[in-house]
Amino acid sequence: MNINTGKSINLKHIFFQSLGVAFLGAVLGSLLIGFKLQSRGISLELDWRLSQVLAVAFFVFLGRFCLGLQQIKLGLLSIFVTIAVCAYMITAILLSVQTPESSKAGNHLLLPYSDMKLNWMTSVIYLGLFLYLIYRFFKKRTVLDSRIQNKKWKFRLNKNIQMILIIAFLLLLISAPFLQIIDRRILNILTQILLYIVLGWGLSIVVGLAGLLDLGYVAFYAVGAYAYALLSLHFDFSFWLSLPLAGLLAAALGIILGFPVLRLRGDYLAIVTLGFGEIIRMVLVNWYEFTGGPNGINQIPKPALFGYLFDEPKGNGNTVSEWLGIEYSSETFYIFMYLLVLSMAFGVFWFIRKLRRLPIGRAWEAIREDEIACRALGLNPTNIKLTAFATGAMIAGFAGAFFAAYQGFISPESFTFVESITILAIVVLGGMGNLFGIALAAILLIFMLELRDLEMFRMLALGVLQVFVMIWRPHGLISRRSPTVYRLMSTKGVS
């Protein structure tokens, strides 16, 4: 890391550098970590926990020192240190969790922080550090080999096998809800993941292809969801009629919002969409008569299948269970919704892939690459950006309608800034414009977020992830970009 500073790196140098970083850590944490505000009644009191600041400084020092050791070829030592810290922390945590309340005080002596969250965090950070050091350690060894291999290593299966694998995977996806091991909870997660994948794909048009940062993407999702809920409740519109309307409404809103902003520099869009997302949420919370306020809207009608309802049979033959002659079960509806969302995902996948190869898709990418050059070639940048923005919004609108139909109730809670950030993190991690990468990232992230015990670390992890990805892998997990045309396709090319 420090190769170009020109200074010689030795133990003393690393020691003082680590000391400096530890001091910075102590300064940063001095008040926020060292004291805890406690509201007691009307008065505000402080818990003093200054020892924690020392602990933070110590762990920061140790961590930085280990990183430094790795630079002067003492990587093995640092690996041992980190794993030792990790093991110690986790043992101590487990001990303190297992012992009953009365004797807990004794075990607290083993733990550096009184706050359990900090203990967890330290262990996780050291685990990460350990993995990183191992990675560096082995990478250094094999750096020459891997470079040679990287050139040759190409994962290419026979096209037919590839196709068969893809079809098998699709069949698996379609048959998933009917499998024994998939219960209601897993099916729910799968549906959620699919919705996030679709949202990620939609946002990838805006962020990945057109290079516009949209921080209020969830607003369009909300518009779609509320559009379906309100249309079906107040006007008795069916799901199939509301779905396109929800998409169009979101797209129209995208155009209205985008038009004044997209003419200007890119960064304005980010902040305007950020504000817009908040405004939409504010309207949803405050406009009681229309949106039901913070309680949201309940009992949104379920979509029907060819006019047959997913309700309990009442004997008049208009329910799905009677029509198909199966026993009534609430599961049926969720299986149906899963399949519906899955087919929407396929549709969106096909749509975006197709769009990329049409002139508009190339124009989006060209705008991202160089707007001025686009203008000089006769492309209208505002229109192109607007179409990207509106298309992204439309996909979010569709997804919103599906979400409302699936959940049966919606409230502003589901459409917070956190959601926008989650979707953005999916796109960023997945590799901006790469549909497979985004799907992969959505699966990883949503599984991570579904882990209940880590609830409080979720957002922290998302934030860290975005900064890390930008620094170390700015083009995401899968950064490969496949061209939209090849020379072979031209008759000129063949000659």
């Binding site: 049409l358 990418e365 001025i372 203008r375």
Partner: protein, 300 residues
Amino acid sequence: MVQNLQPILNVEHLTMRFGGLKAIDDVSFTAYQNHITAIIGPNGAGKTTLFNCLTGFYKPTVGRLTLCSSNQSMLLEQMEGFKIAKDAKVVRTFQNIRLFPAMTLLENMMVSQHDGLMRAAGYNLTGLLSRTALGSELKNGWRKIFSKIGLSYYARLEKEALDHCCFWLDQVGLLDRADEIASSLSYGAQRRLEIARAMCTRPVLLCLDEPAAGLNPRESSDLNVLLLKIRQEHKTSILLIEHDMDVVMKISDQLIVLNYGKKIAQGTPTEIRQNPQVIEAYLGHTAVQVESNNNSGIHQ
């Protein structure tokens, strides 16, 4: 020689002010069809500003820019930036090359076909249902079957566009590298790609901002051949900003000399060579100028 010439571009009393600075001060000239008109002048003479006014990046403070193509004339100063390239067919290249670096050469070229292809794709509505080249032409049985479903109108036009792009890539000698990423090209090749991309839009007037900057002597003589070919075979008039006197004197039909935003001379290369005012303002320092420009070009 002058009598049977058709004007292509009429610049009248063009003035561009930035605050108190007059970057261009009352410049008038006419460029003719099938001519290579070169604009020369020391650094800061207002050449690039003139281009920016011409191609809609700046709105001129005063002045009239008339483009007389085939049978109609258009007032460029009243058109929106992108429409100048789209409708008036005045296309430019940039001093510091502007490509789409992450896209392949062929994609770079295809972007310049945007307008026609958009129409062909029914503004993407019918296009969604049509076949695209990618997907139908790859040697793959499965995809072939899928691609049979769909309309072929767009596919035909897309193929035409692709052929056109490949033709121009061939013209600048980059056809072999068509599927490579634009940023992988060398400096000289990037310049040629930019010119090819501009030509791909079938312009009536091609504006080149220092196309020879940073090229080695062989590349720049290749450029001369290319420019002459563009003029002769494709009936495209060229407006050229250049510091490389080798290029300018050899290929241009008319020279316009700017200094401090004012036009100080106009004429054929031989006339300009003998013009005392030009020699004083510009050619007197030629050696120094050309050298420094070549250097800066290389370091860019």
